[in-house]
Structures are given as structure tokens and as C-alpha cells.
């Protein structure tokens, strides 16, 4: 038995981009010889939006227990689809929920688990590349097991092309799960910002931002560019911005298309979290700051003067 099964994660009635990237990773591993199928849990309507991609089947499981994500019913549901599909490899985005589901599922499947991968290599069996030591090194790891679960780093793989056809949608009736970790309440964040791990543009601030008021400029800029706000450990430890924005070795590892580092010196621990950004623009009053030697484009100047000007220029491009 073989085949690849991708979890398509949904949020607020939409497919997540990282799930489409997971389909693309699946097609790369399958190389047209292994079929790729998708699993949609909870949102039945969205199965049709998934079926336009080059998939063998789209499995849909929805019931009272899977209206929002909870670990146990989602693991049960996915495992049902896994058994029906006969697949040996499971792929999903390395999102907060992908990380939750993948590990429990891998244990149930008795699979190996490769997290946050950035590339696959099919030249001699299946091996993957992933950052280790918080991005200080890249490890090539072979997966010598009959079953694998893989999570992919967002913004690294492309999204697949639509086929013009529709893959068959297969409905699976859910089993009843024992829910011992129950979500009692979800407090939605005030702003609808994209999590920094998935953002394509990150406007990030460090000591040079000077305080919580300074971060308002970064927030406005990020919002206008459709991005999210990041921060160095210093800014978080000072209490200027919540921990969820922290980029670096003890924060989040990000891989945006554009990272704008404002008033960040660029310590090794910070660089470990954002060194894989496709493009880095740094704004700093100190031309000797370490970040200025690693940025693709380094601007010497006061961020409170440069960032508004940059925001206006980039705004013109992005609106086009």
C-alpha cells in the first residue's frame, strides 16, 4: 500500500495557504507514481475548494465533535481517513495545529515524524532537509520507516496548480471520540493579523524601537502591507510587545518573503529565527550592527524617519 495523505487545515471558512503548500510537497514526493489525497475535517463545504487540485480523493469528515479543532476527535478522524486511504505518508503545514495533530497521529500510526521541513530529496529513498539548532545548521535526514508524518515550514513550498477537473469527494462518517481535553472558550484576538510563522511580510522591531509607542508605527506599517509584526527578544523582555511576536531561538522561526528589521542589532539567536527570510531589509542608525552585514538592503538612518517613507514606497508597489 502506498499513497500520500495531506491534512487541509481550514480557518474562518478558508483553506490555509500552508495546506496547499503541503499538497505541493505531496506531489513532489509522489512524483506522479504515488497518489496524493486530501483530508478535510469539520468544514464539509470546503472539500469542493480542495477538489480542484491534482488529487486522487478528498476525504471529508464532519460531525458535532469536529466543528473546531480539538486534538482527540481530530486525531481519531484523521486516523479513520488514513486507514480508508491506505496511504503511508502524511503531510501537513507546520502550523500551531499541524504541530499538535501530527505528533499524536504519528504515534498512533507508529510512523516517524519529521517536523518543519524545508525540502525533500527523492534521489535515494525519502530524505528531507530541516533546520536544526534553530537554523544554525541544516540536517539531511533519511526516513527509513514504513510510515512517515511530515510537517512543512510555511512559505517554502509553492502552491499547486488547479487541474480544471474535480477530484472525487469521499464522505467518512466520524466515530464518537472521548474528549478529555476540552476547549471551554476561545478568546479571539482583536486584530485579524496573520501569525508571524505564516506571514509573507514581517515588520520587526528591536531595542531601537524604544518602547510600546514605537511599535505602533510598526503595526500600522505591517497592516498597510498586509504583513505581521515581529520583535526581538529584547523588545519582548522589556514588555513592549507580547511574546507571541518574538522571533528567534527562544521565540518563533519565520520564513517570510520580506523581513524588515527595524532597530534590531541581529544577535545570533535572533538571526537563527529569521535567517531563512527570502529578503531582509535592515534599518539601523549603526552601520556596524551585525544585521547590516547580513541584510540584502541596509539603510543607515533613524527608523522613525525611514520606515514611514519605506511604507509609502512599498504601499505603492503592493497596491499595483
Amino acid at each position: 500500500m502506498s499513497g500520500i495523505l495531506v491534512w487541509v487545515e481550514t480557518k474562518n471558512g478558508r483553506l490555509r495557504k500552508s495546506s496547499l503548500e503541503a499538497i505541493q510537497a505531496g506531489l513532489q514526493i509522489g512524483k506522479n507514481s504515488e497518489p496524493v489525497s486530501a483530508v478535510v475535517i469539520g468544514d464539509r463545504v470546503l472539500a469542493d475548494h480542495v477538489a480542484i487540485y491534482p488529487l486522487k480523493n478528498v476525504f471529508v469528515i464532519s460531525g458535532d465533535q469536529t466543528k473546531t479543532y480539538q486534538s482527540e476527535p481530530f486525531t481519531d478522524a484523521f486516523f479513520q481517513a488514513f486507514e480508508v486511504s491506505g496511504a503511508s505518508t502524511v503531510i501537513m503545514g507546520a502550523t500551531a495545529l499541524g504541530r499538535d495533530l501530527s505528533a499524536r497521529l504519528a504515534a498512533r500510526m507508529d510512523a516517524v515524524l519529521a517536523t518543519d521541513i524545508i525540502s525533500v530529496d527523492m534521489s535515494d529513498g525519502l530524505s528531507i532537509l530541516k533546520p536544526v539548532y534553530s537554523g544554525k545548521l541544516i540536517a539531511k535526514i533519511s526516513l527509513d520507516a514504513p510510515r512517515q508524518v511530515i510537517t512543512i515550514r510555511p512559505n517554502v513550498f509553492d502552491t499547486p496548480e488547479e487541474t480544471g477537473n474535480t477530484a472525487p469527494v469521499v464522505v467518512i462518517e466520524p466515530v464518537s471520540s472521548d474528549i478529555r481535553a476540552q476547549v471551554r472558550e476561545a478568546v479571539t484576538a482583536a486584530q485579524d493579523a496573520i501569525d508571524i510563522t505564516e506571514a509573507e511580510i514581517i515588520v520587526s522591531g528591536g531595542r531601537g524601537v524604544g518602547g510600546p509607542d514605537g511599535f505602533k508605527l510598526l503595526e500600522e506599517t505591517a497592516k498597510l502591507l498586509g504583513g505581521s509584526v515581529g520583535a526581538s527578544r529584547t523588545a519582548v523582555d522589556e514588555g513592549w510587545i507580547p511574546y507571541k511576536h518574538q522571533v528567534g531561538q527562544t521565540g518563533k522561526v519565520v520564513s517570510p518573503i520580506l523581513y524588515i528589521a527595524c532597530g534590531i542589532s541581529g544577535a545570533i539567536q535572533h538571526f537563527a529565527g529569521m535567517g531563512s527570510a527570502r529578503f531582509i531589509i535592515a534599518i539601523n542608525t549603526d552601520p556596524e550592527a551585525p544585521i547590516m552585514k547580513k541584510a540584502d538592503f541596509a539603510i543607515v538612518g533613524n527608523l522613525f524617519n525611514v520606515l514611514p517613507a519605506l511604507r509609502d514606497e512599498l504601499g505603492k508597489i503592493i497596491r499595483k
Binding site: 499538535d100 536544526v132 484576538a189 501569525d195
Partner: protein, 255 residues
């Protein structure tokens, strides 16, 4: 109430990681400082403070080489009562699912009421130990908690997902992974460090606990492509901003 914490020894966050010149599958481990995985400190603090409040006992478990004993001793200095070192020769193993299975096997005779892990191992970047361990033990889990209160047979926790805060009730026994912000880990004093040397430490080997053959193996480690300095500009903000925007669209073709 028995509370267990799962620990790992990792290179210090400030350490320069150097690939071994004769064996590209491992790093030079002798010249660097090894510490308790930073997120595990939150788990140790949560275990010790919960045990103090509910008159419980605490156990630290670590898979690692001989030198990993120091991580268990550090946890003991922070207040953990007893330790189990599961010996392995190499420094780290990429197969987190096998590790979870081994730890689950080690807990067969004394199932803890609560098991705490750090959010993520900063060496391999793995964050699967908590959920996989919970699955092998047939108990629930919650990851990345930044608030935790223990009632008698259940706990109330909070975690963040994509900016939203989830409030979750979990029945015990269960597994939780701990996020920064959960607490302020204590610094042990000299007396505590000395007392830690006398606390009971059990040592087992991986094969005692039925470890399978390696299912994942490092083929090679490499350095990420170095980022070299790009353009450096100074001048009027409007000019430098325009140059940056032109570079992004024309040279970099970012958008």
C-alpha cells in the same frame, strides 16, 4: 500526586555549532556548554510549584548520554525529588516518536498524574514529544500552555493558537507542554545544588525499555547558505526608501 517532567540536554543558545570534520552527521560537542533545554525550565518550575501546593512528588526523566545527568541534577536543585536517566551514546536522536515510546515504557510501573514537557527542543526543533507520549499512554494532552491551575482530577490551562487564546479543561492523568510565560523558573541556591547530588537517580539503558532500531538517521549536517552583506545606503529617508523599493521590485523581483 506524582508529577513527571521530561528533560533534554542541548547546546547553549549562544554556542557556536560546528560540524565534526571527520563525521558530518554530528557536531563537535566537547568544546561547547550544554544546558537544560530552555523550555524545560518552565516545566520543572510548574512541576515543583504544583507539587509544593498539592503535596505531590516529582520525577525528572531524561534520555541522553552520561553527561546528561547534570541536567537532572539541575532539575533536582530546583526541587525535583527523583530522576531517571535513560542512557544512550549519541547526543541526539531525530526520531522523537521512538523517544516517546521509550519514555512511555519507563512509566509503566508508576503512571504519573501529570507529565510536563518543554514546548520544543531547541536542538532538533522537535515539539512532538508531549503529544506522542500522551498517545502512547492513552491520555489527553495540551501543547504550549502559558497558564496552568490544578484541581483534584483535572487541570485548567490556556494556550495561544494563531493569536487566539484557548481555555482548555483537561482530565488527569495527562500531558502538557510548557511555553515561555507560564512562570518564572527559580534559581537554585548553593545549598539546593549540594542537596541535589544526594537525591535518588535511577539509570536505565535504551535497550531495557525496548527501543527499536534507528528509523531516522542523519545523512549529513551542513551550514545554511551564508548571507553576505548586500547594499548599504544612507541619506535622506525618502531617497533611501525609494532605492530600497526599486531594489525590491527590479533587482530582487520580490513582488
Amino acid at each position: 500526586m506524582l508529577i513527571a517532567v521530561i528533560l533534554r540536554q542541548v547546546p547553549d543558545t549562544e554556542a557556536d555549532i560546528v560540524i565534526h570534520p571527520e563525521d558530518p552527521t554530528r557536531i563537535i560537542g566537547d568544546d561547547i556548554k550544554w544546558i537544560m533545554n530552555p523550555y524545560d525550565e518552565f516545566a520543572v518550575e510548574a512541576a515543583v510549584s504544583t507539587a509544593e501546593e498539592h503535596s505531590g512528588e516529582t520525577l525528572a526523566i531524561c534520555i541522553g548520554s552520561e553527561k546528561a545527568e547534570s541536567v537532572i541534577r539541575t532539575a533536582m536543585a530546583m526541587g525535583i525529588d527523583a530522576g531517571l536517566l535513560i542512557r544512550r551514546d549519541s547526543d541526539n536522536n531525530p526520531d522523537i516518536i521512538s523517544e516517546a515510546k521509550v519514555i512511555a515504557a519507563s512509566l509503566k510501573e508508576q503512571m504519573p498524574d501529570l507529565i510536563l514537557c518543554g514546548r520544543e527542543y531547541i536542538d532538533t526543533g522537535d515539539d512532538g514529544i508531549a503529544a506522542a507520549l500522551a498517545e502512547f499512554l492513552h491520555v489527553p494532552h495540551v501543547l504550549n500552555v502559558n497558564k496552568l491551575t490544578v484541581d483534584s482530577d483535572q487541570i485548567q490551562v490556556e494556550r495561544e493558537v494563531d493569536g487566539d487564546t484557548l481555555r482548555i479543561s483537561m482530565t488527569l492523568p495527562g500531558v502538557v507542554s510548557c511555553q515561555k510565560g507560564l512562570n518564572e523558573p527559580r534559581y537554585p541556591n548553593l545549598m539546593a545544588v549540594r542537596k541535589a547530588q544526594k537525591k535518588p537517580l535511577d539509570i536505565k539503558s535504551l535497550s531495557d525499555l525496548g527501543d527499536d532500531a534507528a528509523r531516522m538517521r542523519y545523512i549529513a549536517l551542513s551550514y545554511p547558505p551564508a548571507r553576505s552583506a548586500g547594499r548599504l545606503v544612507k541619506g535622506e529617508p525618502e531617497d533611501t526608501a525609494r532605492q530600497a523599493a526599486e531594489w525590491l521590485t527590479r533587482d530582487a523581483r520580490a513582488f
